[in-house]
Every structure is written in C-alpha cells, then in structure tokens.
C-alpha cells in the first residue's frame, strides 16, 4: 500500500467513525421529526439538518483519504458541530431543551471527538470532548445529571479511543520494524550463500593458483586473497555487529582483522563482553596489528589468539617480524614518546587488565592482554 505506514491499522477505526456518524445522523433527524412541534423555530431546523446531513456525507468522504486527515478537516468538523450545538437554543428553544428535548447535535456531537482521538491520541480526544462538552453545558440553563453523564461519557470515549488508536500506531510500527529486520536478515543470508558458493571459491582459487607465480600475477593473487578474507568476514554467518547494546561477542570484532597475513584463533562459542569493553579490546588489538604492519616489514604475519578461561579473557597478538630490541620500549617511554605499547597499555589499564609484551630481536613480538570478567 502506498499509504503512509502509520495508517493501515487505523483504517478500521476510521470506518467505525463513519458508521457511527451516519447512525447518529439518522438518530438526530428522527428526534427532530418527533419533536419538531415543540421547537421554538421549527423552520430553523431545516437548514440545520441540511448542514448535518451534508457534513456527514462530506466528512465521511474526506476522512477516508489519509492525506486529508489534517488540522483543517479536524477543525472544520469541530466547528460545524459547535455551530449546530450553539444554534440549538434558538431553533429548539431554551425551555424545550431544559424540558428534555434533544439538541440538534445529540449523539452526533461525539463524531469530532472520536475523529480527534483517532488522529492524535488520548490528549487530543480529551481536548475535543471538553470543547464540545463545554458548548453543550453552556447552552443549557441548568446542569442536569443527564448532561453531566453525557459529558463524562464523551470524555471517556475520547480518551479510550485515543488510547486504542495510539496502540494501533505503535504496534504497527513495531511490526514494520520486525518485518524489515527479517527481510534484511533473509536477504543477507541469501547473499552470503550465493557469495560463498561462487565468488569466495573463485577468489580462493585465484589466490591459490597465482601464489607460485612471479611479479604481477603474484600480486593479483595476493589481492584476490585479501578480498576473499574481507568478503568472507562480511558475509560470515554471524549477525551484524552491534555498536550499542549491552553485550557483544568479541570474536566478531576480532574477525574484522582477519586477512591472509593475520590469523584469528578463537573458541567456537561466543565470548561476550560489555560493548564498550569489547570495542576497547578490539582497538588495542588493532593498534598492535597496525604496529606489525608498520614495523614488521613486508610479508610479516601475525596471529591473534582469543581465550576465555575461569573468568579471564586473554588475547595474544604474535608476529614474526624483526622484534623490538631490548630496552627500546623503556627508552621510548623515557623520552616521553607515546608508542604503540603505551596506547595498548593505556586502553587495557583503563579496563583493569594487564599487558605483557615479550620480544627479542629476530624472534618477533608477542603482546598478551589479560582481562578479568565477572561470570
């Protein structure tokens, strides 16, 4: 449907108002026919009833189009009802009204109240009920219990219908979100299957066949391998990474670093951490891997191992680069240079964890992050 999305659940409500509008119109006309002999100005009833019938038809037609259910229509609806109500003392006569002869709007006056409630919820319904009710009370000489009850019922109708209308809108939006999410997930799975069966296999094949060639072909093979790893991470079966939310799986964050040069080893079960902690750990691992890429020389490889045991999470990042000469880290710290080690230590210290860096020239570097987690 091309209608605005927050409308389809309300369609039955608008239809019921239209039915009520015609039923109450018939009631008003019947009442007028019965009591016309008691009216102060019987001929005044003719234009009043003409307006009543004409507006009932017009309003039903106009309210059926969602684009027109705006303030002009709601305002006009209420204004016409007020005009009929305020014309009643003159047409029907004050004494007749006080003797119990119905006004020119009787039950019909609830129509704008319902329309306001459906269009804008409880508060709007209550406002319209109070406006119509006040007009109804002011045209009477004395406030009878019947008219007070009528006012209360109208207020109740406005609030209750407004509440139901709001519920309808909310559940519709919720349903819409669920449907969108499901469609997105299904589409993602479909793409992942397709990509897995074709593109990934071919990229892996290109990488494999080109690996032992020289020059440009080897470069192409290497690029194919990188794309294979990136694409695989993108379509892997896990749900999309959540930025917010209470807990995330640290594995999904570390998987983002996988490439032909970076191996990620992790348990098969999720390693859940509060989102902020997981992203800090991810950033620390990212910093360590950046350092490998920068100082490890071309062709340096790195291995990330994620372990969880007895409430402790350990992430190790090892590389086969040239390693850090002894004393180099301390020297850098003394000179006030915030090296990569510092940034990793800083991040993990903030989380209450510890960092160990082991390195020797020619033996690569190993960074081990340890973090206690409750549970």
């Amino acid at each position: 449907m091309a209608e605005d999305p927050s409308g389809t659940f309300q369609v039955p409500l608008w239809r019921s108002i239209a039915v009520f509008r015609f039923a109450s119109m018939a009631y008003v006309v019947a009442m007028a026919a019965l009591n016309v002999t008691d009216y102060a100005h019987p001929f005044g009833a003719i234009p009043a009833l003409a307006v009543l019938v004409g507006w009932s038809v017009a309003a039903t037609y106009l309210y059926a189009r969602s684009a027109w259910r705006g303030w002009p229509l709601l305002g006009t609806d209420l204004a016409i009802t007020l005009v009929l109500l305020l014309a009643s003392p003159w047409v029907v006569g004050r004494t007749a009204i006080d003797n119990g002869v119905p006004s020119l709007a009787v039950a019909w006056q609830a129509c704008p109240v319902l329309a306001w409630a459906v269009s804008g919820g409880r508060r709007r319904g209550a406002i319209a009920a109070l406006v119509v009710g006040t007009a109804d009370v002011t045209m009477r000489a004395k406030l009878t219990s019947a008219s007070a009850t009528g006012l209360m019922l109208m207020l109740l109708a406005g609030v209750a219908v407004g509440h139901v209308a709001r519920l309808a809108v909310e559940s519709e939006q919720r349903l819409q979100r669920a449907v969108e999410l499901e469609a997105a997930t299904r589409e993602r799975e479909r793409l992942a299957r397709g990509i897995h069966d074709s593109v990934l296999q071919v990229l892996a094949l290109v990488q494999r066949r080109g690996a032992h060639l020289d020059g440009e072909a080897a470069e192409l093979a290497r690029l194919a391998g990188e794309q294979e790893a990136a694409l695989r991470a993108l379509v892997s079966g896990r749900p999309p990474r959540q930025r917010s939310g209470p807990e995330v799986d640290l594995r999904t964050i570390l998987d983002g670093y996988a490439s032909p040069a970076v191996s990620i080893a992790a348990p098969a079960t999720p390693v859940r951490l509060p989102a902020s902690v997981a992203h800090e750990v991810g950033a620390a691992v990212g910093a360590a891997l950046d350092n490998v890429a920068r100082h490890g020389g071309s062709g340096a490889r790195a291995w990330v191992l994620l372990e969880e045991e007895a409430g402790t999470i350990t992430v190790s990042v090892r590389d086969d680069g040239p390693g850090i000469p002894a004393g180099r880290l301390a020297e850098a710290a003394q000179q006030g240079r915030l090296g990569v080690a510092q940034s990793i230590r800083g991040r993990i210290a903030e989380l209450g964890g510890s960092v160990e860096i082991v390195s020797a020239p020619g033996e690569g570097t190993e960074v081990e992050l340890r973090l206690s987690v409750s549970g």
Partner: protein, 217 residues
C-alpha cells in the same frame, strides 16, 4: 602410491586440486561433489586420504566423515573450508577428521598437509588450535549435562603446545622453544584431538544406550 579422493562441490576447485595432487605424484582415485556419493564409492575407491570440503550441498561434513570412517576404518580425512565455520570445523574434528586447512592455503601448504595426513600426522591450523582449546575449556566448565568426571582434560604441556600452535608457531619452532623433539610435539597435538574424538564417541554411545533403554518396548 598414496590413494586420494577429492570431495568438493565446486568443479573448478576439484579439478585444480586433483591436478595438483596428480602432479605431486598422488593417485587420485575418485573425485565427487556430493557427500552421499563419496560415502557410497569409498569402499570401491579405497582411498588412503580423503580431501573433504566441509560444505557440501547434500549432507553435513560430520555425516560424510562418519560414513567414510564406517565404510573405511582408518581412512585419513583432511578437511578444507572456505570460510570461518567454527562450529562445523570443530564438529568435524570431533567426528574423526585428523587434518584441517583453509582453502586459501598455498598449493605448497596444501600438498604438505596431504603428505602429513597420509603419514598419520594431525594437521592443525592456528584457528583449529584456538577452537580445540576453547572446546576443552567449555567441557571443563561443565557446559553439558553430567560430564564433570567424563570431561576430557588437557595436561599443562598439551595446553602449552596448543597455545603455541594457535599463535602460529610451527612444530619445529615449538620443539625448539620447549626443548622437545619434533615427534613429541606432534604426539601432544595428536593427543589433544584423540581425547576429544574419544570423548565424542563415548558421548554418542551413552546417548544411544540411554535412548535404547528409555524407549518403551
């Protein structure tokens, strides 16, 4: 001559692998793209090593491995997978596969893995070592029902070796670092898989017995 069967649903990949194997002096006795067919023809083809893609269109990797081992006890299975399917790799290892390699490995790595698998060695990737470590810890934590004492455990040495494998060290490097022989490192790695596979078989048997005893007759 070592007899090899290649099971992979991607024709290009299958042919490429078969050609590499033939060039390296292996006897490629069968190639197929379906797990069910692989199990059916295994007794006739009698491969020593099966190179198996974990993701096949018809049946799961675990089913293929069980079928192959039932048809040809002692056959060596080297699995390949293109993507990070942690759980299925772990299940396959527990079902009895003795080697694992990612599909993006170079032809040299692949041929080396086939050679070692044929020789009876276990072929680990760092990723698989991480999975196996995680599995032992899950079992130790008592994730499953009533398996406190039955849960297999790693010795400190085995844990140490497995962690080094997961960090990308070769068996040779591990042997040098821990002052062990290459063979000892290999044995430790093999034991870690052996215990998991044994535990898996015991669990399956226990499950079958429970089902059998509980069924009304």
């Amino acid at each position: 001559m070592t007899r090899v069967m290649v099971v992979d649903d991607h024709p290009m990949w299958r042919q490429g692998v078969a050609r590499d194997l033939a060039e390296a002096g292996y006897d490629v006795v069968a190639t197929t793209g379906e797990g069910g067919q692989a199990v059916r023809i295994a007794p006739a083809a009698r491969p020593d090593v099966v190179v198996l893609d974990l993701q096949l269109p018809d049946i799961s990797g675990v089913e293929v491995i069980r079928g192959l081992l039932a048809a040809l006890p002692g056959v060596r299975i080297l699995m390949l997978s293109a993507s990070g399917q942690e759980q299925s790799v772990l299940d396959a290892v527990k079902a009895g596969a003795t080697g694992y390699l990612v599909k993006s490995a170079s032809p040299e790595e692949f041929l080396d893995a086939v050679r070692r698998t044929a020789a009876g060695d276990t072929v680990f990737t760092p990723g698989l070592a991480g999975l196996v470590l995680g599995e032992y810890r899950r079992l130790a934590k008592g994730g499953g029902p009533a398996e406190d004492e039955a849960a297999p455990r790693l010795t400190d040495r085995e844990t140490e070796v497995l962690r080094l494998v997961a960090k990308g060290l070769s068996y040779k490097q591990i042997a040098a670092r821990l002052s062990l022989s290459h063979r000892t490192v290999q044995n430790h790695v093999q034991n870690t898989l052996g215990k998991l596979q044994l535990h898996n078989r015991v669990e399956l048997t226990r499950y079958a017995i429970e089902q059998g005893l509980d069924s009304p007759d």
